[in-house]
Structure formats: structure tokens, C-alpha cells
């Protein structure tokens, strides 16, 4: 009797275990009609008027569209929800013909009114990306059911490119807005967790902390001929090593944002994986505090630029980065290919320091970077060793993101050097040059001129460039700005931050976008 009972126990145990292990067999790969995107960081809200992060990259292009998009390969602005446009002579009135026959996910139709409502909403909410509209737009007006007119406060050359921005330019359904508005909140409560745009995929479920499921929107205006996937699942995998394992085990089809260069080697050797490193429009630089001695002296700043280990710094990116020639990524419109380039020359650096009246061993400077960008720390350590050989002491201070904001909030608390990154808001040189070098755009005033660099002539050139309607003339002005900045050396230009993209070889049709490097062209991607 006892023995029999024992046998029953054993049988139950074995049964339960085998059910657990083999009950629903783990898939060798994901289904062909579904694209599983891995992301290291979950987005916390999906309101396109508010989101101003790179975590939205895999999500927003699924559900939302803009009036126009930017093709980084041709450098041209292309139609999306607008079929054509016209810019007035003085560059202040933009008239768009809105595409007809486009449906939102809730079945309502897109028209000029939808565009006005969407832009007005973003400006009224006045959060993260709203400045891109509020700074330039005087009024959005409906001319006829399918013609919308945007009047600017003053001419702004790159405005069309601003409209291609990944942030704040999405058009959401006015019907959903009206249906879900509560106590004048502009439906912020509803749009926090729900999406309703014109994009190819609609959000069908969001299990917080785990995944979002998007399904093909049958009435999508581009239609579903050709190769596409029916479903997109965005899976949250906050641990980078786990993400790598899942890519290797083919449980994730594609991942980019969060795949830092150091993970590159661990993705190699899996024949079914395609791993590519791309250039982004994001640059990493060391900004010098120009408000106090000794870095208020241009000779000292040049000396620092000559002391920097440019080649060694590339190692911080596991060999995936290329040296920045000048201060902009070469593919960014407005880049100056003839820029003067600083090379490491410690003897020259020492000579410049002596000329500036600085005795060997008397100079001690501080360099900060934020924990979230660990490459800054690795670069600073290399530089520290080089500076030591010419008698300069570099004190290294790591800060967290919140602490970093406190440090740069005033010139007194800002360190001598701040190593940090800058990603563009819209694909134009001005989106780098204006916030980083215009004298009034300091971090406490909505800019990122951390070093408080101030050159009235550069300011004037920047204003001229931003008001210039003629693209060629604007580029010439932007290049002149770059020459002045290189000469004044307010920052050390390190690298254009590379982005790894890794996907299964069954995934086809992926096209990379350097401006919105965390996103995917989901509609054109499919699996074999």
C-alpha cells in the first residue's frame, strides 16, 4: 500500500515536471507574420504630444504619421500625410495639401482640421517637444477641408525639417480626442495609454512592463500589397545580457536602442544574426566651461583640444565608432567637410599652456559625465592619463542624470569639462549648432550651451542661417559657424555615437534612420 502511494507521488511529480518543460514547447523562432522587437527600456506613456524620448522609437512609427518625413539617404523632405506643399516668398507661410482618403484607427477621416487640432493640442499641452512648434509657429489655420496653412512668427529655414521631427509632429484623431476628453485635459488621460493615429499598425494591447502588441490596420492608406508583417510585438527586456541571449536564441527578431557597442562582440558568431553598426546624428563632446579661468582663455581651450586622445576614445565604443571630423556627423545636412581638425599633440598642448602663462603642475581641472553614458567615463580616464604627462591634473566626477542637471544649471556649478551627448531634434546642422553654441540657449533657458560659450558674431551668423530660406546659402552660413567654433574651441568633438542594430537574417526590408536611430520602418519590414 505504502509503495503504491509512493509510486503515485512519483508519477504526479514526473507528469507535472514534463508538462512544465514541454507543455507548450518553446518556439525555435517567432512566427513569420509577427515581428518581435526587443527594447531595453519601456516607454512610460504614449502621448505623441508629450513623448520626447528615444524609448518611443520602436512604437510611434507603428501608429502615428506626420505631414512630411525626412529621407536621410537622399537628404530630401518627402510627403506623408501631406501630398504637396508651398512655401511663401518670405518663408513665413507654409501651405499643405492634406492627403485625402486617409483613415484614423477609429474610422474617422483625416482632413486639414485634424492637423490644426493636433498641432494646437501639442502647443497647448506645452510639454517636452512643444517648443519646436511654439517657438516658430504663429498660427495654424484651415483654409479649406484639405488645405492647412501654418504661419510662422519669423522665417525659419529648417521649418519643413522640423515638421519631420520624430517628436511632437504626429497627427492624432480629433474624434478620439473629443470622445475621451475629461475636464479639459485634452484627452491626456486617454492618450497616456492609448494610441489613435493613421499609422500602419494599431495598438491592441499593452501589458505594462512586458510588451505592446500592434496589429495591422486594415484600412491603412498605403494598402497591404507586397510583403509586410501582420503583427508587431514590442517586448521589454531591461537587461542587456538577456536581450543578447534572446537574439541569439531567435526569440527577438530585431533590437537597436540599448544595444550599446560593448555588446557587439557577444552578438558575433551567431550565423543567423545580422549585426550592423550605424552612424547616428548624435554626437559626444566635452564642453568646456568658458566662464572662468583658465578655460575662458582660448589658448588653454586649444591646448586642451590638442591634449585629447581622439583615437583612444574610439576604443570606448568597442571599435564601432569613427573619429568625428569637425563637430557634426558627416551625414547631417549642413556638415562642413573642410573643417579644421584637432589631433593629439601633447607637446603643442604644453607649449600653448606655457604661452597662456600656466606653469607645469599648477593646473587642476574637473571633468563630469553621467552614469547613463558610461563611455564618457572611459574616455575621461584615458584623457586623465595623457593630461598627467603634461602636468595637468584631471579630477573625474560621475553624476546621475538628475544630479547632472543640477551641475549644469548654473555656470558656477558647471564643471570645467562636461562630457555629454547631443541628439538632434530635426535633421539639420542648426539642431546641433543652435542649442549647443548660441549664447542665450544655456541649460537653464531651454538650451544645452553647457560651457556658456558666447561669441556675438557666431550668434549673428546663427540667426542669419536660421532665417535663410535658400538652402545653399543657409549651408554656407552654417559652415562658417562651424569654422568659428572650431577656432574658438569651446568643446572637444569626440565621436558621432554609433548605434548597433541586430536582427535575424529572416528579417528583410530594414532601413536605418540616423535621426531617429531607435526606430524601425515597420511597414516595409517583413520576414522570410
Amino acid at each position: 500500500m505504502v509503495i503504491r502511494r509512493k509510486r503515485v507521488y512519483v508519477a504526479v511529480l514526473v507528469g507535472a515536471l514534463s508538462l512544465l518543460l514541454y507543455g507548450t514547447p518553446l518556439l525555435a523562432s517567432t512566427p513569420a507574420d509577427t515581428l518581435v522587437v526587443g527594447t531595453l527600456q519601456e516607454i512610460s506613456l504614449v502621448d505623441p504630444s508629450i513623448d520626447y524620448s528615444f524609448t518611443g522609437g520602436p512604437i510611434f512609427p507603428a501608429a502615428y504619421e506626420r505631414l512630411v518625413t525626412f529621407n536621410s539617404h537622399t537628404g530630401k523632405v518627402e510627403p506623408e500625410l501631406a501630398v504637396s506643399w508651398d512655401i511663401s516668398e518670405d518663408g513665413t507661410v507654409y501651405t499643405f495639401n492634406v492627403r485625402q482618403g486617409v483613415q484614423f484607427h477609429d474610422g474617422s477621416a483625416l482632413n486639414a482640421e485634424s492637423v490644426k487640432i493636433a498641432f494646437d493640442r501639442t502647443m497647448k499641452i506645452n510639454r517636452g517637444p512643444a517648443w519646436m512648434l511654439r517657438d516658430y509657429v504663429k498660427e495654424v489655420a484651415v483654409v479649406s477641408p484639405y488645405v492647412v496653412q501654418i504661419t510662422l512668427k519669423a522665417p525659419f529655414g529648417p521649418f519643413l525639417k522640423v515638421l519631420t521631427s520624430s517628436w511632437g509632429m504626429s497627427i492624432m484623431s480629433p474624434k478620439a480626442l473629443a470622445d475621451h476628453e475629461e475636464a479639459g485635459d485634452l484627452a491626456q488621460g486617454w492618450f497616456h495609454d492609448n494610441m489613435c493615429g493613421t499609422g500602419p499598425y494599431k495598438l491592441v494591447s499593452w501589458t505594462k512592463g512586458q510588451q505592446m502588441v500592434f496589429e495591422k490596420f486594415d484600412a491603412y492608406w498605403r494598402g497591404w500589397d507586397g510583403n509586410h508583417v501582420d503583427r508587431v510585438i514590442v517586448r521589454v527586456v531591461p537587461d542587456p545580457t538577456t536581450l543578447v541571449m534572446m537574439l541569439r536564441n531567435a526569440d527577438i527578431d530585431i533590437a537597436s536602442y540599448g544595444l550599446v557597442s560593448e555588446l557587439g562582440p557577444s552578438l558575433e558568431g551567431a550565423p543567423h544574426l545580422v549585426t550592423e553598426s550605424y552612424e547616428t546624428y548624435t554626437t559626444e563632446a566635452a564642453f568646456m566651461n568658458t566662464t572662468r579661468a583658465p578655460l575662458d582663455d582660448v589658448r588653454v581651450r586649444r591646448a586642451m583640444s590638442y591634449s585629447f586622445p581622439y583615437e583612444g576614445a574610439l576604443q570606448a565604443y568597442g571599435g564601432y565608432a569613427e573619429r568625428l571630423i569637425g563637430q557634426l556627423p558627416p551625414s547631417l545636412p549642413g556638415f562642413d567637410p573642410n573643417s579644421q581638425v584637432y589631433h593629439q599633440d601633447l607637446a603643442l598642448a604644453k607649449k600653448l599652456l606655457t604661452e597662456a602663462g600656466i606653469n607645469e603642475g599648477s593646473l587642476a581641472l574637473e571633468c563630469t559625465w553621467v552614469t547613463e553614458q558610461p563611455t564618457g567615463g572611459r574616455i575621461a580616464e584615458l584623457w586623465q592619463q595623457d593630461l598627467a604627462t603634461i602636468g595637468v591634473t584631471l579630477k573625474l566626477t560621475e553624476v546621475n542624470a538628475a544630479g547632472g542637471w543640477l551641475r549644469i544649471s548654473s555656470p558656477e556649478t558647471t564643471a570645467d569639462f562636461t562630457i555629454t551627448r547631443w541628439g538632434v531634434d530635426y535633421p539639420d546642422a542648426l539642431s546641433n549648432l543652435l542649442p549647443l553654441y548660441k549664447s542665450d540657449l544655456t541649460p537653464d533657458k531651454g538650451g544645452y550651451n553647457i560651457g556658456r560659450y558666447s561669441n556675438p558674431y557666431v550668434d549673428q551668423l546663427l540667426i542669419q542661417a536660421s532665417q535663410e530660406a535658400n538652402v545653399e546659402k543657409a549651408v554656407l552660413l552654417e559652415q562658417e559657424v562651424q569654422r568659428y567654433i572650431t577656432d574658438d574651441a569651446p568643446s572637444i568633438f569626440i565621436v558621432a555615437v554609433p548605434q548597433l542594430v541586430c536582427y535575424q537574417d529572416t528579417v528583410k526590408g530594414f532601413v536605418y534612420d540616423p535621426g531617429y536611430f531607435s526606430s524601425f520602418n515597420l511597414y516595409n519590414m517583413y520576414k522570410e
Binding site: 509577427t34 512610460s44 506613456l45 517636452g128 512586458q210 546621475n400 542624470a401 543640477l406
Partner: protein, 337 residues
């Protein structure tokens, strides 16, 4: 009656504990050098936008006023709004707490259901090979950091053998069971959803092992030593002498008397597991309060940090109260007055 008064007294004490925890966490988190309003405003936030956010979060007021406003909200069950998720913290906790509860419960179950029998067997086979094996295992399991064990389990059972999933609560292709409690295993049982049940159990295996291994080892050691102690008592000798079966002696006389010490350890271990779930949740992408807390800390999300601290303190205190009440049925000699 004395029983009811005891419970009421303990609940009143719990309120004091929460007040203490809130006060401490509030002031410690608010003296951190950070500006959550600036962080939340985004990189290009204008001064007036940051001011508006600061006013919305009450960060423009003196710290004592902020403390008072928080306590006032707390008394109404309002835990404030998270700067990161821009949602009421109470709603966030309702979303994420069930996952942590499920994982912690499953780790406690592992520790109890395996640890107690192992401890008893180890004690009864004292100084024999089995005992030696169990003791070696428990010293090892206590000393291995849980996140490292988690990574190793992922490497072996997911990466190399591909037997078990390495992250999340469900596979991407299995729909979650209809929401009743938020505990997937329970919900799928209630909804009679076999696929979700098996799948959520599979997802529980590795994180449970990683989280529970340390507690399992402690439980085994504790059981072993208290059983050894009881084995030496006169009444156990009597039980053997009067010819009771081994099963009867061990279960009715030895284990019953050893349980008091063991249940105390269980209470303490639950606290350790709740705290220990933070790294495990991050390693296994387990969408619980641990992951939520980790993000809240990097984002200097005051209200979320406070919310997590409060819910952990309450959970810990309530579970320990339950264990104290359990003593009554374990040992009839105990009286609470």
C-alpha cells in the same frame, strides 16, 4: 476577546511603523541633490515649463509643507503622482505589485516545501553522507549572490538547453488571463485557461529558483538545527520508546515542536525576499515593484520611491502579524494579552 484586542493593537502599531518609514524615506529622498522637475521637463524645457512642473509636484514649497501635504494625501489613500509614468502611484502599484507578490509567494513556497523536508531529513541522517550534502548545498546557496545565480540559470536553462523561458511572465504569443487578482497562475486557474497556466508556471521557474535559493538554504539550516534540538528532548525519547512509527514521531512530535522557530524564520525571510526581488526582477524582466523601484530610483521619482517603501513595509508587517497569529495554533501555550 484578548485576541481581537491584540490584533487591533498590532494594527495601531503598524500605523506608527508606516509613519516612521514614510518620514525617514521622505526626508532621505528629498535631500538628494537632484531636480526631478527639470529631469521630467525634458532636455529643452523652458524655465516656465520647469516652474509649472515644480508647482504641480509641490516641489516649490518648503520641505516641511511638502511633507505635510504628502501625509494629508496619504491619509486619504493618495500616494501622489509619479514623475516618470505620470500616473497615480497607487495605480502603478496595483499594476506591478501582483507580479512581485506572485514571485515572492512562489519563492516562499519553494523555501518551505523543499527547505523543511530537507532540514528534517538532514537532521535525521545526521553526520551521514546525505546530511553532509545538504549542508554543503545550503552554505553554497546562501553565499551565491541571487542575481549571479539568476544569470547562470538563464545561461544554462535558456541559452544552452532552451528548456525554460528567461524573462517576463508570459510568452509574447500567449494572451494574459483575464484580470481578477493580477496573479497569473491564480487568474488562469480561475479562468480555466490551460495555456496561460502552463506558460506562466514555466516563466516562474527560473526567477523562483534564483530568488528562493538563499531562503531555501536558510530554511533548511534552521529546520535542521531546531529538529536536532527537539530530537534530544525527553518526550521524543518517550515517543520512540512507546513504539510509535518513525513518521508519527517526526511529524507529530518533532516537527510540530520545531515549527515555532521555523515560522519565525519564514516571517523574516519574506522580508528578505521582498527586498531581494529588486535585482531578480531586473535580471528576469519581471514586471513587479522591484523593477518599478529600480527605475524610480534612477529617475528620482520621490512619490514612487515612497509608494514602494510603504507597500513593502505594509506587506512585511502584515505577513509577520499573520505569522504571530499562526503561533497560537502552532503552540497552544502561547497567549497574547
Amino acid at each position: 476577546m484578548a485576541y481581537v484586542i491584540y490584533v487591533l493593537k498590532r494594527c495601531a502599531l503598524l500605523l506608527l511603523v508606516i509613519l516612521g518609514v514614510v518620514t525617514l524615506t521622505f526626508f532621505v529622498s528629498h535631500v538628494l541633490p537632484a531636480d526631478p522637475a527639470r529631469l521630467s521637463g525634458g532636455i529643452r524645457a523652458r524655465p516656465e515649463q520647469v516652474e509649472a512642473l515644480r508647482a504641480k509636484l509641490n516641489l516649490d514649497k518648503p520641505i516641511l509643507t511638502q511633507y505635510w501635504l504628502y501625509l494629508r494625501g496619504l491619509s486619504r489613500g493618495d500616494l501622489g503622482t509619479s514623475v516618470r509614468t505620470e500616473q497615480p502611484v497607487s495605480r502603478d502599484l496595483l499594476t506591478y505589485f501582483p507580479a512581485t507578490l506572485e514571485l515572492t509567494f512562489s519563492a516562499v513556497m519553494l523555501a518551505m516545501c523543499v527547505g523543511i523536508p530537507l532540514g528534517v531529513l538532514s537532521a535525521t541522517s545526521r553526520r551521514r553522507f546525505f546530511d553532509f550534502g545538504v549542508r554543503t548545498f545550503s552554505v553554497g546557496a546562501v553565499s551565491i549572490p541571487s542575481f549571479w545565480l539568476g544569470l547562470m540559470l538563464q545561461l544554462v536553462f535558456y541559452m544552452n538547453l532552451n528548456l525554460l523561458p528567461c524573462q517576463g511572465r508570459l510568452s509574447p504569443f500567449v494572451a494574459p488571463p483575464s484580470h481578477t487578482t493580477g496573479l497569473y497562475v491564480l487568474d488562469s486557474l480561475l479562468a480555466w485557461n490551460g495555456a496561460a497556466l502552463v506558460n506562466s508556471l514555466q516563466h516562474l521557474v527560473l526567477p523562483t529558483l534564483a530568488l528562493g535559493a538563499g531562503s531555501l538554504a536558510v530554511m533548511t539550516r534552521m529546520t535542521r538545527s531546531s529538529v536536532l534540538e527537539v530530537l534530544r528532548t525527553d518526550y521524543v525519547q518517550t515517543a520512540w520508546a512507546k513504539g510509535l512509527s518513525k513518521q508519527a514521531v517526526l511529524l507529530k512530535h518533532v516537527l510540530r515542536n520545531a515549527l515555532l522557530a521555523i515560522s519565525t524564520v519564514i516571517g523574516l525571510q519574506i522580508g528578505a525576499l521582498l527586498a531581494g526581488s529588486i535585482p531578480i526582477e531586473v535580471v528576469f524582466s519581471w514586471p513587479g515593484v522591484g523593477s518599478y523601484a529600480a527605475k524610480a530610483i534612477t529617475f528620482v521619482d520621490f512619490n514612487a520611491i515612497l509608494g514602494v517603501t510603504i507597500i513593502s513595509a505594509v506587506a512585511y508587517a502584515v505577513l509577520n502579524l499573520m505569522i504571530d497569529l499562526l503561533y497560537l495554533s502552532i503552540d497552544p501555550r502561547i497567549r497574547y494579552v
